[in-house]
Point group: C2
């Protein structure tokens, strides 16, 4: 299966006409526009993002903006891609390839929750931002696919070594990433109600043992 993290992603909708392209785009200008947009989204969300405000915040003209980005969707896809890349690096560092599978997964989970904790409310804005279609499918599922693809080899190793029961590594990585992202989002929404530790403890218990409902049922009166 393809590794979606290594494929170039862009918004599915392109401008119908060829826009002016820079022969030597300035990476610093591009970074400045992205940083300005990231601030706007963090403060006000994607729905309220306006190209005019991004250009103004970056101190450039709207014309300059369009030399670097096709528009609002293109910019947002790029920000989500950068955000995912940062997270991937953090997870890879935390993993480090040392220790048991359990150690490595716990370190990855911990690094993930650190990252989300440091990046609230941006995390929620990226999650809820735009239902944007890209050349690699819907943006929201693309990010999950990238992280699932990173996790899959670790799970496959665990199965090969007999530490994990054999199952479909693709489904398992999707389950783990989808579940963790969902609960991280829930935490970010209700951070006044749940501590980081409570979320981490719950996730570890659920991931390692499930709900344990399989053990011989003892239906009490309340269950009928």
């Amino acid at each position: 299966m393809e590794a979606p993290g290594d494929e170039a992603i862009h918004a599915a909708v392109r401008r119908p006409t060829q826009r002016r392209q820079l022969r030597n785009p300035n990476p610093k200008m591009r970074a400045r526009l992205l940083a300005a947009a990231a601030c706007q989204i963090r403060d006000r969300g994607y729905a309220n993002l306006r190209v005019e405000d991004v250009a103004e915040r970056a101190g450039v003209s709207i014309g300059t903006f369009y030399l670097y980005f096709e528009g609002k969707q293109d910019l947002f896809v790029e920000l989500v891609r950068e955000f995912s890349e940062q997270l991937r690096r953090r997870l890879a560092e935390a993993d480090g390839g040392e220790g048991t599978l359990r150690d490595r997964m716990i370190r990855r989970l911990s690094a993930y929750l650190d990252f989300v904790g440091e990046n609230m409310p941006a995390f929620l804005h990226y999650r809820d931002g735009g239902a944007i279609d890209t050349n690699l499918g819907p943006l929201a599922t693309w990010a999950i696919k990238v992280h699932a693809a990173d996790l899959r080899p670790l799970l496959a190793e665990g199965m090969a070594a007999g530490v994990l029961p054999p199952t479909d590594p693709e489904l398992l990585s999707q389950a783990l990433i989808g579940l963790t992202q969902h609960l991280a989002g829930y935490w970010a929404e209700y951070r006044d109600r749940y501590s980081r530790e409570a979320i981490e403890e719950f996730l570890l218990a659920f991931i390692t043992s499930g709900i344990d409902v399989a053990r011989p049922a003892q239906p009490g009166p309340a269950m009928e």
Copy 2:
């Protein structure tokens, strides 16, 4: 905690001016417009939904459309709400309140996968449709909250009866619904690769036992 399923939901953005309201709106006309929109979305997705096409498909004028709906977002929220209501009824029927917790959860899961299977690709279009903000928060997380709220009492009963290990029933219901919805979406995206049975079997195993990585680790050479 509030029961989000019983609260009226509408798009957060309302028309700035008061639109004309019907004194006696015709429920059949409303249903006809919703059915026309559902067909458009099933065939072409939300991004390509146009009010003009919905009106034409329903055989009414655009003016009539706006007597019933504020616009595209309002219409989509209403469709997602109806879709969720259908699903809630199916899950409640499948549950039926009889049998052990395990029996009831298996029946619920099976009914959920039946529903998704019958409603592809609409399910994906609703999932990916619009990043729409509502009076009850982002539309995508609202639907999960509704289903989690329905499941929570069952889980709380199970804990009270000692069939489930004690944990936070809110986090557990979010985990179960978020996980199941995510994998159902994955199945819908890759239905040529996974059978309904494979998804159901995987989910049951994961939900009941987790990945079992907690058992004494036997790190093999492949794990280092």
